[in-house]
């Protein structure tokens, strides 16, 4: 006969741990997608040294993924202009749900959960209207609830702000249509922006760069615990110009743009792939796979600190100390005060992004 006490204990256990948490899969620090030598694309969980803790096959090349704040669940996006995203149970590797973009929409490859894990937001293209959209999903049953405008064209990365009530969206400004692949349809009129919205989609603030930087597509984001936003850009203008590819913005202030000295800046081919603050928040970095370089800056002074030559470097995140990065040649490494050290070199090609599992840990 079950005592009342046993019954209550059982109830508590059932409600507290209905699904496995991240500790059940080895407490990974990051998610990353990669191409493996057998031709398979897989989503992997990595520890802080780059060891692969689990690895789940993907149906096609991935772009970014999103990690549930506490359940061992990840959403992997297909490469732009994909129309599906897959929710995985990382403990079993099984598919929980396949998210289909609604008719007339495709995903851009980035998404983020709400702080309590009950909502999931996706950047999407309403391609007939050429307007950016944020899809809103129930993250318990993964059902689409609705959508709201992203505040611009071509939203790419999106992050939840530390207040848990605000989303910051990188509206890259570039119009594309799935029928013309990745062809950029509006370069002469493009106007990227950074848009802040509340979770119901009301626009709180929008930031645009000066007209001379109108062709600098704001693509990827990093957010510091105090709400400082870092944004990485991809230049669509003449390659003989070498504009800044990194900016910092705090709500209510003007953006600050950070640039390396001309010799370093001119080698980047106008292209930054990922951005992250270091663990202590005092420095910020961008990866530049076309220039085979990782550039680090001091946040306070906005001054360039150092550049590291790393072939096809792209994934970037905060490590236990400093920053960690991945490359298209399979390297996983850490950047300490002075140098880059490779700690793992599995036989795979890491894709664009390294997704932190604990966002503000």
């Amino acid at each position: 006969m079950t005592s009342r006490r046993d019954f209550l204990a059982g109830l508590a256990a059932a409600s507290l741990a209905p699904v496995p948490g991240w500790s059940s899969v080895g407490a990974p620090d990051f998610l990353a997608a990669a191409l493996f030598p057998d031709g398979s694309y897989r989503l992997s969980g990595l520890d802080g040294k780059g060891a692969i803790l689990f690895s789940i096959p993907l149906p096609a090349r991935g772009h970014a993924a999103a990690a549930h704040p506490f359940k061992a669940q990840a959403v992997a996006f297909a490469r732009r202009p994909g129309t599906f995203a897959i929710v995985f149970d990382c403990a079993s590797g099984t598919v929980i749900k396949r998210l289909e973009a609604p008719k007339g929409r495709h995903f851009y490859g980035h998404g983020t959960f709400s702080a309590n894990g009950d909502r999931f937001f996706t950047t999407e293209n309403d391609y007939e209207a050429a307007e950016g959209v944020i899809g809103v999903w129930d993250a318990v049953n993964y059902i689409r609830l609705g959508e709201f405008p992203s505040g611009g064209v071509g939203p790419h990365d999106m992050r939840l702000m530390p207040d848990g009530e605000t989303l910051v969206i990188a509206n890259g400004g570039i119009e594309t249509h799935p029928e013309t692949g990745r062809t950029k349809l509006n370069l002469p009129t493009m106007q990227p922006n950074l848009t802040y919205v509340d979770l119901s989609g009301s626009v709180l603030a929008q930031v645009e760069l000066t007209d001379a930087l109108r062709k600098n597509s704001i693509r990827h984001l990093a957010v510091r615990g105090d709400g400082l936003v870092g944004f990485a850009m991809q230049w669509q203008g003449s390659l003989t110009k070498h504009p800044p590819l990194l900016g910092l913005h705090r709500l209510g202030e003007e953006p600050r743009l950070l640039s390396a000295p001309e010799t370093d800046q001119s080698a980047l081919q106008g292209y930054a792939g990922s951005i992250a603050f270091a663990a202590d928040g005092n420095s910020i970095a961008i990866t530049c796979p076309r220039g085979n370089a990782l550039l680090r800056f001091d946040v306070e002074s906005a001054a360039f600190t150092d550049a590291f030559a790393l072939e096809d470097v792209c994934g970037l995140g905060a490590g236990s100390e400093g920053l960690v990065f991945t490359t298209g040649t399979g390297a996983f490494g850490a950047l300490n005060a002075t140098r880059a050290e490779i700690s793992a070199q599995p036989d795979c090609q890491w894709d664009n992004h390294l997704i932190p599992i604990r966002t503000f840990g």
Partner: protein
């Protein structure tokens, strides 16, 4: 002889090969780039003077001059860097695709308000980019909806203003290309290109983006999907030039590819065969404005043309690119 040259190549330090871009850079600049902009400036001058003499939209002289000048632009428009890119000149020559219909809106607004900017070339160059260039002029010459708006006198002034603006733009490009050319032919510390490799990469990018634009946009837009073809999205369909642009761009890109692959005869041969196949397909199509994509058979034929251009792209990126030191990294190629 062949064995000897291979051994010589192996003995040379790596850097020696990397330096030897000069003959190709000189050839591409002097015989591919500069003559195209000179030709363009000539043709647009004829267009501007013809419009001054006769601005009737159905004037055969004007339409002939228009076609010749637009041909010259399409044959140069893949060279979309340096002076071509400055101040959005390329878009001011051809604002396409125009996904939001800015061109007819801009022209209608000029006509409705009798915008005085048509009276001054400097002022017209400052108006919306969507109302400038060959696609705006096409609307004025070939779109019956435009011929019904406003007064004949204003429409005439507008046609002349667009033609003059095209010519000024082409003249500016031609002039600036003369001074820009040494950047390509003499890379180094005094050039915008720090090495011959960088200058070659710029030209290679012109080739690959030119192929991409023709396959994905010139053909991709009218193709739409099999279920929903979009013939009304074809480039310059009102003047029946859509297929001609594909053919002209392929002819121009074939010339550039041949020059860039000159040191690699096998790659040059592969590219030439692939270009010949694509150009043959274009010439056999007999569907000038891609209206046929509406039918299953017509759609398949245009898709086949698109595939033949994608075959050229494949050779360019997997064979020619690596010989020019183009980074083929997993992430650097992704572009996202």
């Amino acid at each position: 002889m062949r064995t000897f040259s291979i051994i010589t190549a192996l003995l040379l330090p790596l850097g020696a090969q990397a330096q030897d871009r000069a003959p190709i850079l000189m050839d591409a600049t002097e015989t591919h780039i500069l003559p195209r902009f000179a030709q363009l400036a000539d043709a647009t001058e004829t267009l501007a003077t013809t419009a001054q003499a006769d601005c009737a939209p159905d004037s055969e002289d004007l339409r002939t001059a228009y076609r010749a000048a637009f041909d010259s632009w399409i044959s140069a428009s893949h060279l979309r860097f340096g002076p071509t890119e400055t101040d959005d000149r390329a878009f001011a020559m051809a604002f396409w695709p125009d996904t939001k219909g800015f061109t007819p809106k801009t022209l209608s607004r000029h006509i409705a308000t009798e915008d005085a900017a048509v009276g001054s070339p400097e002022a017209y160059a400052e108006t919306s980019i969507a109302g400038r260039g060959f696609l705006a002029l096409e609307r004025m010459l070939y779109d019956p909806a435009m011929a019904e708006q406003g007064s004949a006198a204003y429409r005439c002034a507008l046609i002349r203003a667009i033609a003059t603006d095209i010519d000024r733009n082409a003249e500016a490009m031609n002039t600036d290309w003369q001074t820009y050319a040494p950047n390509l032919t003499q890379p180094g510390d005094d050039s915008l290109y720090r090495s011959g490799d960088e200058a070659m990469q710029e030209l290679f990018r012109a080739l690959t983006t030119g192929l991409e634009f023709t396959a994905d946009t010139r053909l991709g837009r009218p193709l739409g999907t099999f279920e929903r073809p979009r013939p009304n999205r074809a480039e310059a369909r009102r003047s029946g030039r859509s297929l001609r642009h594909v053919e002209l761009s392929l002819i121009a890109l074939r010339d550039l590819a041949a020059r860039l692959s000159f040191d690699h005869p096998q790659i040059a041969a592969d590219l030439d065969v692939a270009f010949a196949r694509a150009i043959d397909r274009a010439q056999a199509l007999d569907d000038p404005a891609f209206a046929g994509v509406d039918t299953p058979q017509g759609h398949i034929r245009v898709e086949a043309l698109q595939q033949s251009i994608n075959d050229i792209r494949e050779i360019a990126s997997t064979e020619l690119g690596p010989t020019l030191g183009i980074s083929a990294g997993f992430n650097s190629l992704d572009g996202d």
